[in-house]
């Protein structure tokens, strides 16, 4: 497949495509579009389903007790669902909001509340999980392949995670605990995809000697050999995820959205980013190894 494409040589082109997308996403983050849910900052959230009455968001706000209404955000979910987010409430206030909403909408109301301290704990846990995962995986790849492969897969991985977060912000989706799970899943998938290609490179790589032209050509061939698999697998994985995006409730659809972006990014980076970084890193190291004896 794609016999005429120079995957490695045209790295500037592939990097530029990613660069533009990354810049757009990170711009959205910089503009403060990344919206954190109550899982991370504490607060209360009320969800009404199958409401008997159709109210506008303003009407729902008016139904809330004064004092709480001003600080609440109301969103509609689908045809007959509503979601109300408020700052942290006392048990009493929370029950009041719940019963007022149930009355106003003629619906069953589910409630969630998270204390700010707990949100902070969740955030720390998430960051720890990501850091620990990265370290262990770098070690694993360095052992099973070589260090240069680990570096290249880390670059691809960071690319995928940043792209996911950027798109998440650009589309104004709410970051919750489930989003963190999605990002960690993307991380796992991105590596998995990269490793399948690296495995082929490892298999095709000559055991001795490094020559940039030969190495790059070999990487090109390796990519051509596995690109069909990458495309098929992305399709196979994206089908159930798209189904989740379409049929899922709000939480599930947020999750599916993050996975969709992350997996597309992962498929792209495993073909257009990781092998190129590997090739550039190898060339750079070979260059500095040649220069070193001369300067010594």
């Amino acid at each position: 497949m794609f016999p005429g494409v120079d995957f490695v040589g045209k790295y500037r082109r592939w990097f530029a495509i990613s660069g533009v997308l990354l810049a757009l996403g990170l711009l959205a983050v910089a503009l403060g579009r990344l919206e954190f849910g109550i899982d991370f900052q504490g607060g209360a959230q009320f969800t009404a389903t199958e409401a008997d009455r159709q109210l506008t968001e303003q009407e729902v706000t008016d139904a809330l007790p004064p004092g709480i209404a001003e600080e609440s955000v109301v969103t509609t979910l689908g045809d007959d669902g509503y979601e109300v987010r408020t700052p942290v409430l006392s048990e009493q206030d929370s029950q009041e909001v719940q019963s007022l909403l149930a009355e106003a909408l003629g619906a069953e109301v589910s409630a969630t509340s998270v204390s700010p301290a707990f949100g902070e704990q969740i955030r720390n846990q998430a960051l720890q999980a990501v850091a620990a995962a990265l370290l262990i995986i770098v070690a694993f790849i360095s052992i099973r392949f070589e260090f240069s492969f680990a570096i290249a897969s880390m670059v691809a991985l960071v690319h995928d995670v940043l792209l996911t977060i950027g798109f998440y912000a650009a589309f104004g989706r709410e970051v919750s605990l489930v989003t963190v799970v999605a990002v960690l899943t993307v991380l796992g998938y991105s590596l998995y995809d990269t490793i399948i290609i690296f495995d082929r490179i490892r298999e095709n790589a000559p055991t001795v000697g490094y020559n940039r032209r030969r190495f790059d050509e070999m990487v090109n061939v390796s990519i051509r050999q596995v690109i069909r698999r990458s495309i098929y697998t992305s399709i196979f994985t994206l089908i159930p995820i798209t189904a989740l995006l379409i049929f899922g409730e709000s939480t599930l659809s947020d999750f599916a959205f993050a996975l969709l972006v992350g997996i597309l990014a992962g498929a792209y980076s495993s073909i257009f980013i990781a092998p190129q970084v590997l090739s550039l890193f190898k060339a750079w190291r070979a260059g500095s190894a040649r220069r070193a004896p001369r300067s010594a």
Binding site: T47, T49, E91, Q98, E108, V109, S110, A111, T112, S113, V114, S115, A117, F118, Q125, A126, A129, A132, A133, I136, I137, F140, L177, V178, V180, V181, L184, T185, G188, Y189, L191, Y192, D193, I195, I196, D199, E203, N204, V221, R224, Q225, V226, R228, R229, T233, F236, T237, I239, P240, I241, A243, L244, F247, G248, E249, T251, L252, F255, A256, L259
Partner: protein
């Protein structure tokens, strides 16, 4: 590649596993009960509580275990079905109660530390008939006033409040009491199961009686004697406040020396204490005080309708996705795809069996984990089949191509899946609740997919290619023209 005999053994094992799974899912219990649904799918209450010491010291694991036992007992006494109470980490307890009808009452009762205290009332002030939206403001006012009272000494005394339905008129009677910082007598002096809901023989009002230990009785006698004496000197009525945690339940006037029999009453209401309040009081007092303070840090109530619709949409998504993947596998890989589709069906069924057997509680993230694992399971086959097709194009016989495909594809799959497992293990180790459910299902899914997509399909294909069945390139999705024509260029 394994011999025909090995292949038959593998497939025999698969048949046995399917049998076991079928037994677990359909025969052991009705199929609707086979799968444990999480709160987000069936509705219910879940709360996470954090324990802390009053002084700020560290909470021990033992104290948390003790506290979780007490909380479980309390919920059991409410007659709620199958609560799940677990200690998590150093100082947290997770409570999950499916399908509760009165979630607020349950939440209310589990977090109570239930420290019972008897206090001599040093001064008090009441604001009768307070409208409900002014209670907070009135409490602040009363607090201000009481701080100016002679009886209030900073550091030695504190102010507790009682809220009770108005004795006359409407609204709430709010009363503030100045009491000593430490209770004069605590709930430790309560006899085992010493709290009971009873009816006052004279007024027929509902009351909660407390039976104290002998020592407690003596101390109660001392305390009431002191209250009476001081009342005689000051000329004001002597009150004793009975407080649960920081809320005064009642503050009767002490008219005689009491011993080991005390009762908590509320004569301002026509029937005495309301029934549910009396029952809650009895429950928390009899299960004893929690060894540490508990604060609810997160709480979720999911209604049954929301749960059901989440379940429905999650299942729809999984089934639609699954069906499409099966169809696509067959379209692309023909005979090979058929085998892979069969293996995926086996995978899905065994997965269900494991979920029932472990048992794993199914939650929304869990469903997402399964959906993702479908993709992973299909991928293992894609990697191998692409290898097989490559070998066929090089002109190898189907049998040799299948062998080479599995040998070469396996390493890539193994390395790839190990990285997924690493992420899943870390997720499990560092997270809690539903995220854990996702991690568990992902781990099970990855391992199981290695079995069905590598071992099972290999055995099936081994039998197919060995038993005189002729697998033509076309049957594997390889066009005739590409055989031998498209030799992989370059590195060989």
């Amino acid at each position: 590649m394994g011999s025909t005999r090995n292949n038959i053994i593998v497939l025999g094992l698969v048949v046995v596993l399917i049998g076991v799974a079928a037994y677990l899912i359909f025969l052991r219990q009705p199929v609707t009960q086979a799968t444990q649904l999480g709160l987000d799918l069936q509705g219910g209450v879940s709360a996470q509580l954090e324990g802390s010491q009053t002084g700020g010291g560290n909470v021990s694991r033992e104290e948390m275990e003790q506290a979780s036992d007490l909380i479980r007992q309390r919920i059991d006494r409410l007659g709620v079905a199958e609560p799940d109470v677990r200690v998590q980490g150093q100082d947290q307890i997770v409570v999950q109660i499916p399908g509760v009808e009165n979630p607020d009452e349950v939440i209310d009762i589990i977090g109570r530390t239930a420290q019972l205290g008897f206090y001599q009332v040093l001064a008090f002030e009441q604001n009768p008939n307070t409208p409900s939206d002014e209670i907070d403001a009135v409490q602040n006012e009363l607090e201000e006033d009481l701080r100016d009272d002679d009886a209030f000494r900073r550091g030695e005394t504190k102010i507790l409040f009682e809220e009770s339905p108005a004795f006359q008129g409407s609204g709430t009677d709010v009363t503030g009491y100045v009491v000593r910082e430490q209770p004069d007598l605590t709930g430790e002096e309560l006899r085992q199961n010493g709290a009971n809901v009873e009816f006052d023989p004279t007024s027929n009002n509902r009351i909660v009686t407390l039976q104290l230990t002998n020592e407690g009785g003596n101390r109660m006698a001392d305390l009431t004697q002191e209250i009476i004496n001081e009342a005689a000197v000051s000329g004001e009525p002597g009150l004793m406040a009975i407080a649960l945690d920081q809320d005064v339940q009642s503050a009767p006037e002490v008219q005689a020396v009491l011993s080991d029999q005390i009762s908590i009453t509320n004569d301002s209401l026509p029937g005495g204490l309301p029934e549910d309040e009396a029952r809650q009081l009895e429950t928390v007092l009899n299960t004893g005080a929690l060894p540490v303070n508990m604060e609810i840090i997160s709480q979720t109530e999911v209604g049954p309708t929301l749960g059901l619709s989440s379940l429905r949409s999650g299942l729809t998504a999984s089934l639609v996705g699954f069906a499409l993947v099966l169809v696509l596998l067959v379209v692309i890989y023909r005979a090979l795809g058929l085998v892979a589709a069969l293996a995926l069906l086996i995978y899905a069924f065994l997965m269900w069996g494991i979920i029932v057997a472990v048992p794993v509680t199914m939650t929304l993230p869990g469903i997402a984990g399964i959906v993702l694992s479908i993709g992973v399971a299909a991928d293992a086959n894609v990697v191998i089949f692409e290898r097989i097709k490559e070998e066929v194009k090089r002109g190898r016989t189907p049998r040799a191509a299948i062998q080479a495909g599995y040998d070469r594809g396996f390493r890539a799959i193994l390395d790839g899946n190990i990285t997924t497992l690493i992420t899943a293990f870390i997720l499990f180790a560092l997270s809690s609740g539903s995220v854990r459910g996702f991690a568990v299902l992902l781990v099970i899914g990855v391992i199981l997919s290695m079995f069905t997509a590598v071992v099972v399909t290999r055995a099936l294909l081994g039998l197919l290619s060995g038993r005189g069945v002729h697998l033509s390139p076309g049957m594997m999705g390889v066009s005739k023209s590409s055989v031998s024509a498209e030799r992989p260029a370059g590195v060989r």
